[in-house]
């Protein structure tokens, strides 16, 4: 079969190969780069979790689990959500263990969307929401947020994009790439719009533990929201377990069952080693999580203060381990800035445009990197700007 004859699905063909692929290859091919472009914790998974997973392998836990995931894990998550957020989901009917939140996003979109259904996705936002919605047959309506309003969704912005035929909305807070999160009050205002327009809310709250200035409110805890929310979370960020690939979805039984149907044919189940590690994570890692959070918070303060000092305007993000400074006053575009910074100073950052066209004029800096790296990188950026 030659290239011309090869028939790739139209949706896939249309999927953006992400215009900055070339930039990424550049970074990966370069040596001695300080990368602030990494979307995962720099901490290694706490040892109690690793040790417990090793022990379970030694004992021979290497099989499939039930499609929905180990009951013990679902039950532990259920208790955790109840204690932490007064959020009650039955481990039997309202919960599915997935291979990371990424799979959960895919499942929920496929479970609810009919061809042509419209779905609201923020711009900028995490890279997978738009293509995966399209793969599921949805039509994406991008909600443009901008630096002027701190990249925050408001009822006003929502209403601007809500039209007939919109079925669902994807929320992500604290948000990758902007670090933006919402207070309970802000969420209440948004929830009124969701309820008024009868939308399904897909809420990706994977960074919830990394909220620094107030306590995180799951939107499902607000009145009238639980029955329309699919709550997505996982172990990657809070417990530094990205490679373990364990996430979960909680929501109305009808949607979770539909997601489970797809999951049983496509993924079958999340890896058992990861699930066993996750059980230990919930059992005995509270201190490690707090310690990592304190460290992230100090880095956040440091980096925001330095960025503003060297002339890149940067607001204090409420959560995650990202900052999203403006580079507008340099006169360079995002990709241009990132490329030049890489070549001249060997510091890698992600151009804001990787997350949508509204990211133009911004870069994402991940401060999930040692203080030594951050200090050095800030010096190099300062030198670059001179």
């Amino acid at each position: 079969m030659n290239g011309e004859q090869m028939k790739i699905s139209k949706v896939v063909e249309k999927m953006k190969p992400s215009g900055i692929r070339e930039f990424f290859d550049l970074v990966i091919g370069m040596k001695d780069v300080i990368s602030l472009g990494v979307g995962e914790p720099d901490f290694v998974t706490p040892w109690n979790i690793c040790e417990s997973a090793i022990f379970s392998l030694e004992k021979g836990y290497t099989s499939y689990t039930s499609n929905r995931g180990l009951y013990e894990l679902r039950s532990a998550i259920s208790k955790y959500l109840k204690n932490k957020h007064s959020l009650s989901y039955s481990p039997d009917h309202n919960m599915l263990i997935t291979t990371g939140v990424s799979e959960a996003v895919d499942l929920v979109l496929r479970a609810i969307l009919n061809r042509g259904d419209k779905i609201l996705v923020p711009d900028p936002s995490y890279v997978s929401y738009e293509p995966v919605s399209e793969l599921a047959g949805g039509r994406v309506v991008l909600m443009k947020t901008s630096g002027r309003d701190n990249f925050k969704l408001t009822p006003g912005i929502l209403k601007k994009y809500i039209s007939r035929g919109i079925k669902a909305v994807i929320l992500n807070y604290p948000a990758n790439p902007t670090g933006v999160s919402y207070t309970r009050k802000e969420l209440l205002a948004l929830s009124k719009v969701f309820i008024d327009h009868d939308l399904i809310v897909i809420s990706d709250e994977i960074y919830d533990e990394l909220t620094y200035d107030f306590s995180h409110t799951p939107i499902a805890t607000l009145s009238g929201m639980k029955q329309r929310t699919v709550y997505l979370n996982g172990f990657s960020k809070a417990f530094a377990m990205t490679g373990w690939r364990i996430g979960y979805a909680c929501g109305p039984e009808e949607i979770i069952s539909a997601m489970t149907k797809i999951h049983q044919y496509t993924m079958l189940c999340a890896p058992i080693m990861g699930q066993l590690g996750a059980i230990e994570a919930l059992r005995g890692s509270a201190n490690s999580v707090l310690e990592m959070k304190r460290e992230y918070k100090r880095r956040r303060e440091f980096i925001v203060s330095r960025l503003n000092e060297i002339g890149l305007e940067c607001r204090m993000p409420e959560g995650t381990f990202y900052v999203f400074p403006s580079i507008k006053n340099t006169g360079m575009g995002s990709v241009d800035f990132a490329k030049k910074l890489l070549h001249k100073e060997k510091v890698a950052v992600v151009p804001g445009t990787a997350f949508g066209s509204q990211g133009e004029g911004y870069i994402r800096i991940a401060y999930a990197s040692s203080m030594d790296n951050l200090k050095e990188a800030m010096q190099r950026i300062e030198h670059f700007l001179k």
Partner: protein
Amino acid sequence: MKEILEILEKDARTTPEEIARMLRKSVAMVKKAIKKYEKEGVIVKYKTITNRDILKDDGQKVRALIEVRVTPQRGHGFDHIAERIYRFPEVKSCYLLSGSYDLLLVVEGGDIQEVSSFVSERLATIDNVNSTVTHFILKRYKADGDILKRIERNNRIAISF
């Protein structure tokens, strides 16, 4: 301001300016707090953690853990006798413990003979020292929270979303 201690315990080289940024405090406030901690003895010293095992040609020092049973003294408890012992420069650490013996020492010397003679001639002969048990340290894996072996850490992909 206790977080200052946490930061310095992790990296004593962190400057007051950097700490001030991390904690969103003024540099003057941080400097003042550090001065106060130093004066009160909360901050004892700034030192470097080394692993000299890597320097193959270095005159390797020998360390031993020594369990010491002593008789406490009326009016002073263990403090006096402990001081008699920890004043020796060979004694690198000294702890009072609960359990089957009283003091645990880390003693350092140029070689096994040196440590042995310190124990038999100096330590064991002190009044109120009843008995000692010496354990020579064969290998140090972790010291004060730091793993001494270099661990390959940087295996994340350089860019991810």
